[in-house]
Symmetry: C2
Subunit: 282 residues, 2 copies
């Protein structure tokens, strides 16, 4: 018998992974958590049936999500991670000489399961890390903390999903006010060629920031094989590296930092048209 | 009823596309040709059941396959295309001020079907284009022509497949001898992270060339979402652009030309180790 995990994507595309066995299956108050052992990618974490990360390529996603904003900032001392309950984003942040990392995840269940089944992902015992189990919207509207870098490592903003409120213009505005003057914010975003309208809407949410750029990288596990990231800042140009790694990396490099911001012509045009449309309406 | 085309990839990965209808199905002496109309990518050409190109993203593949070698050459007058029966590669080559383009495809059937169902792909009436229906191995061993650029636009080198002999060291050596002193050769190659051993073997085939580089680009239709290209030359550095486009492009740009050669650290290392292994054995 062959066991396959088949992921539907926008109803016109499926991705299938051949499965060795189901390692874990459970339900929290917020979502269903599944861990599959697959032939191609090793262990894969699914939330509500959607692949979030795999053993084999999680480094590609986490390095690009974290090191691009972190190396664009001259001295990131205080970092906020929204979501990131699997631990991978905080593992990468803690490689930098940061002073405090706050991780706010709504679902304790994800953290517990990942600590058990993806032990390579987290540095949970690092004294610089504080974990808060809380709704990030509530946290950001009640805290008085100010951060140098805010990293959004949530699930996708599906309609009525757990992460939907995190992608609202209101949330981005709150985040803006909790960033230091050189502050930088980053969010994962789906690749900008499947559902162009959804991506345009997300892109608009960042309007409160004077500088907004898109960059991209490989993540073979995700449908389409690449992933994109929106990076927004108050004053820093995120394409400019302020520091270089003094630790080993497997995906990120100073050259990749530059290259990741170079978009194919059709994407450059799409984003520029979007900007022009906004200017015309304002 | 829902109709799905499901493509198996290395037996551990499937890609599924929702199908509106089957436009064409036929068999030539060499392969089975199918054209599907899909919701996500429009018309898709399949050879022996494997997706070769789609209406929606063929420009990404053809622009990156063609313009990187063409713009790395100061004055490409004579170009050879091996395969390319769909017409897309020659369409892009003919945008350059070339004098002669020779397209050698073994299967007339592919050309006829693509002329009919993918009419946007070919510039078949351009007087600079000569089409030869012939085995490219025979052609290259019997011709006395010398080319500035050779573009391999074949199907994948599957064991016992039509294209397997095209990826042999013997073929690359023949091609080398039919290149002018500034000559450049390019071949499509599958992404270098699924079947690493197969890619390493292909990479070795180019040993006859003093300069060999890998570059990559998006092609959402292909499993994994990116595709890679091997570019080999006698003297030119393919990362250096000798000319810039004076025609519109949708993917290629001078900045993309540079960025496409920047590989994630793990790929750089893989290719460097490969090179070191070869040096140790020689």
């Amino acid at each position: 018998m062959e066991l396959w995990y088949i992921q539907d994507y926008i109803n016109e595309y499926k991705m299938g992974l051949k499965v060795k066995e189901t390692i874990f299956q459970g339900k929290t108050r917020f979502q269903e958590i599944t861990i599959l052992d697959t032939y191609l990618y090793g262990r894969v974490l699914l939330l509500d049936g959607i692949a979030q990360l795999s053993e084999k390529d999680e480094f590609m996603y986490h390095e690009m999500l974290v090191h691009v904003p972190m190396f664009s900032h001259p001295n990131p001392e205080k970092v906020l991670i929204i979501g990131g309950g699997d631990g991978g984003a905080s593992r990468e942040v803690l490689k930098h000489p940061v002073k405090e990392v706050t991780l706010v995840d709504i679902d304790e269940g994800v953290i517990e399961v990942c600590q058990r089944y993806f032990s390579q992902l987290g540095r949970w015992d690092d004294p610089r890390l504080t974990v808060l189990i809380e709704d990030a919207c509530q946290y950001i509207s009640s805290t008085s903390e100010v951060f140098d870098v805010i990293i959004m490592d949530s699930t996708d903003p599906l309609p009525h999903g757990v992460a939907e409120p995190l992608f609202s213009p209101e949330f981005f505005e709150q985040a803006f006010h909790h960033l230091s003057p050189q502050g930088i914010m980053v969010s994962q975003m789906e690749p900008p060629f499947f559902d162009v309208d959804r991506v345009k809407k997300l892109w608009e949410g960042f309007n409160v920031f004077p500088i907004v750029k898109l960059y991209w990288g490989l993540v073979p596990t995700y449908p389409g094989g690449i992933w994109s990231y929106v990076i927004a800042s108050k004053s820093q140009d995120p394409r400019r590296q302020e520091r270089v790694p003094d630790f080993p990396t497997r995906y990120y490099s100073p050259a990749i930092h530059q290259a990741a911001f170079v978009l194919p012509s059709f994407l450059e045009e799409m984003l520029e048209n979007q900007k022009r449309d906004e200017e015309n309406f304002s």
